[in-house]
Symmetry: C2
Subunit: 213 residues, 2 copies
Amino acid sequence: MEKKTAQPRERNKEKSKQRFLDAVGTILETKGFAALKVNDIAATAGLDKKLIYNYFGGTEQLIEAYISSKDFWSNVSMEALPSGITDGGLDILKRIFTSQFDAVQEDKELQKILLWGITEKRVSLQKIAALREEIGEQLLTTIIDPHFGTEARAFRAAAALMVSGIYYLNLYTDINAKTFGGIDLTTEEGRQDIKSAIEMMLDLLYSRSKSNL
Amino acid sequence: MEKKTAQPRERNKEKSKQRFLDAVGTILETKGFAALKVNDIAATAGLDKKLIYNYFGGTEQLIEAYISSKDFWSNVSMEALPSGITDGGLDILKRIFTSQFDAVQEDKELQKILLWGITEKRVSLQKIAALREEIGEQLLTTIIDPHFGTEARAFRAAAALMVSGIYYLNLYTDINAKTFGGIDLTTEEGRQDIKSAIEMMLDLLYSRSKSNL
DNA sequence: TAAAATAGTCACCAATTAGTGACTATAATT
DNA sequence: AATTATAGTCACTAATTGGTGACTATTTTA
């Protein structure tokens, strides 16, 4: 019959659920998705794992809930699309692509999600991919297609290659190598080289389209 | 004078070691590096896991031995480099890049290695990355640098972006999505779009360098 | 042919993992 | 205040994991 003079733990289901969701984010960011074990998640949240089963049904559903709760493409979705486009969207695309290059580098969580998306088959990851396709489609149909017309298909492919490269270079860097093609991606110079290349390639693609119209 | 009523298991250390190495390859190809557990490897090899410790020292060393035994860049290393280059290497680069796009798609084991390389920090994966850098450096110094001169740095960055894109698009495809930027990468048309874009961008980069010389 | 060396097997241990039943403690309701 | 609902704890099971000591079986050597 011991009296508990210790501070009485707050009893709040919603807050606890949020703790679990936050714990998933923390582990994902620091250790990656492979470390998302129910015991670790509970320990990180500072709660008993039983609650994960009570509240979410299990680790799977908790992870699904976590992914659904995040907006991974907020940095690109409504960032731009001003009305007064006079250059066919060249300038906007330059900014979107180069800023995305930096955004992926800074957002470790996004990196893990990208990696996860090419590693594991999972419904919520499919949803993320579909959502990004949707946002990309908006950009393509409102900016690229009108300007490139019949050449839009070629430009789409080039853009896909560039965005993919933006992703991969950031995932690649600093895990098992610093350089790619002799460019040190851990230095500001090296990263500037990539960004300049992005702009150069967009310039070339746009100049090509002009000369072909 | 051996009696072979029950087939007597062959006793051969070297062969058994090779069995383990092959088992690593099989598991890697089919289930990925995360599934490289000592029990599974032993079961796949049809031998006792104790032998892994006896022969290699442990799973880590076995995996190291496996990676060291493979030549992952055989398809690109000495594929080309003919002597009579008259176009500054444009045609060779087109072939190297587009064939690499197909090679990565077909070689599931290479895909897993690429994925592994951006997921886990590991000495032997660093060696693979370093080796690829070496091969790439050869290409760059013998083909690109002489032609692009002071512009070589810009071209290197563009090439890094393109090769990275080639990797990522192949890793991306068919796990959680089929399309990237609206292009269906599971169809021959979609993949041809990417290859055409690669050639187009190389054309643009080369034409740019000409007009600037 | 006997003995030494070693390829290979097997049973077992300890740690980690997911998951659950029974319980306690607190808040809400009457 | 007594009752009820439920947030949260804890101890336990079962399966999987990496790892090892002791053993058997086959080959090599003296």
